[in-house]
Symmetry: C2
Subunit: 320 residues, 2 copies
């Protein structure tokens, strides 16, 4: 540990495909960054070696930083207090790995572990679109729907750190079956996967030539729908409207349940917010109780860096 | 303020029909109690006089108590930090009443205000069915559905103290319209009012003679359905099953959103838990993600005293 430099924390974002590391300054600035493809099949030992190497790289790039510790965002379920990755579905062999203790031993710094969606929520709260709030919900809408919730200045953990499984609230019982086994989960109706599913049906029906032209030989995605809608295709506009309607219903629930000052939308579908906003806001206005209607829905500000910056903030907020 | 006696707090529970006051000891024991019909049409001044009189009564009954302050549970929306009742739909003339300041001035004690459902949640947490947990949700199911949420040892407030409007989460978009203006709210499908509505339809159809006999000339209620079901009436058993199914879906959402260690069911419909439990637990097992399935659903322990005891706990927990 050096002294006299800028106060900063190390951060790791453990993803199923990419492993990322950074030195993040107290201001939220990323002073050094490195990434590699996660050795997802190599087991915990191999991935931990990758982490140690990446941390070596970023420390060398920011030699003057006064490092206060390492924050790690990893896939849930995990136990943030014990520092254990309980299971990581996309990583082979990751079962009850005491990652915080191992990294602390290897790197000689204090380590704090957090669920990756929670880490991203913390990042947006401290340094991104949630700055200045005491209560906010970060929602990431891509393959699935996940998020992190801050209420009254606390990140919600709950039993086993499992609070905020927002993608799996039932919003329309008796409709679509969800990958989790439930029926009518928000994720089953409003995720990027759900949007692509509906778009695929439409293309297969042969009634949406404009969308079909844009898709070409690619796999149908929300991005294609957004592009066709922007070009004025009525069928694609209707698909985006339905997407925004389901998103809006879930957001109304989050307002009623957590009473945030701001809803922050991230993930691939989150980047479509400009096209979705009209229907989202109409849905909130029609369905939320009056006291909740003026709460703004904003886009995430930190993009893919949210998790890294949030993981770092776990250590930056600790005072000696 | 006397010294040397048992440490205790004063408590008021302001309801639309009944006004209740108590002296509550540090152990949660109600040492003195008094109640009167709320002068709901008399405006704030008249009701505040009633409060002062009731507090005089209970203080006289427990003269040795060392009073640390007064906790007040009142209908929301209210601002707990400012101590202001913003609006009380069932009480005439209650708009932006600085109740904490007024009562503090009149009674010469520190006053803390809290939403009545939150106060009941605090009561169950500190002295009732939620004792020993760090995270729990209290759900009161009667005319409507309300509740209070404790996560990681904090009662959730959120923006304007409005967190935990659990009755107004959409669980079945496109079904029943709710009194709040939404569609498919939990309250519209699973409240006592919803159960009575379905039972009324059934009686009116003339196809449920057993239930009809029990109802007689009374207004149909959930209690009648429970009684007919207990006597073996298949139609009434089916109604209770549907009620438990909808309750269960909402409870699954609360598990996923807040990750409590315990779900605590109160209110009139809550007392039917023994008859509802089978279907509630089956619904949770079918729809909750596996990590949430073993969380117990228990009945509230404090009955109508939960709000009073919880209001008192607001002051009892403050240390000098």
């Amino acid at each position: 540990m050096t002294t006299g430099g800028t106060r900063a924390a190390l951060a790791i974002d453990l993803g199923g495909t990419e492993l990322r590391a950074a030195v993040v300054e107290e201001t939220g600035r990323v002073a050094a960054f490195a990434a590699t493809s996660t050795d997802a099949l190599g087991g915990p030992d191999a991935v931990i070696e990758q982490m140690v190497a990446l941390i070596g790289t970023v420390r060398a790039e920011a030699p003057d930083a006064e490092i206060v510790g390492l924050g790690v965002g990893a896939p849930g379920p995990l136990d943030p207090d014990a520092g254990i990755v309980v299971a990581a579905p996309t990583l082979s062999g990751w079962r009850d790995v005491p990652l915080a203790a191992i990294l602390s031993e290897r790197l000689g710094v204090a380590v704090q572990l957090e669920n990756d969606a929670n880490a991203a929520a913390l990042g947006e709260w401290r340094f991104g679109a949630g700055q200045g709030t005491k209560s906010m919900v970060f929602i990431t809408v891509s393959t699935g729907i996940g998020g992190g919730v801050i209420v009254d200045g606390h990140l919600l953990h709950g039993r086993r750190g499992l609070a905020g499984e927002i993608g799996h609230m039932t919003i329309a019982a008796g409709t679509e079956r969800c990958a989790c086994g439930g029926v009518g989960c928000w994720e089953a109706l409003a995720s990027g996967t759900a949007l692509a599913r509906e778009a695929t049906k439409l293309v297969a029906s042969g009634t949406a030539p404009a969308l079909q032209r844009i898709v070409g030989s690619e796999r149908v995605s929300g991005r294609h729908v957004a592009q066709a809608a922007a070009a004025g295709d009525a069928r694609s506009i209707a698909l985006l409207d339905a997407e925004a309607h389901w998103l809006g219903i879930g957001l109304v629930n989050l307002l009623h349940l957590y009473s945030p000052e701001r809803l922050i939308l991230g993930g691939g579908v989150g980047t479509l917010l400009p096209q979705l906003r009209g229907t989202i806001e109409r849905t909130i206005h029609e369905r939320a109780m009056s006291a909740f209607r003026e709460v703004p829905v904003v886009g995430a500000a930190l993009g893919r860096n949210a998790g890294l910056v949030g993981a770092a903030s776990l250590m930056l907020e600790k005072r000696p």
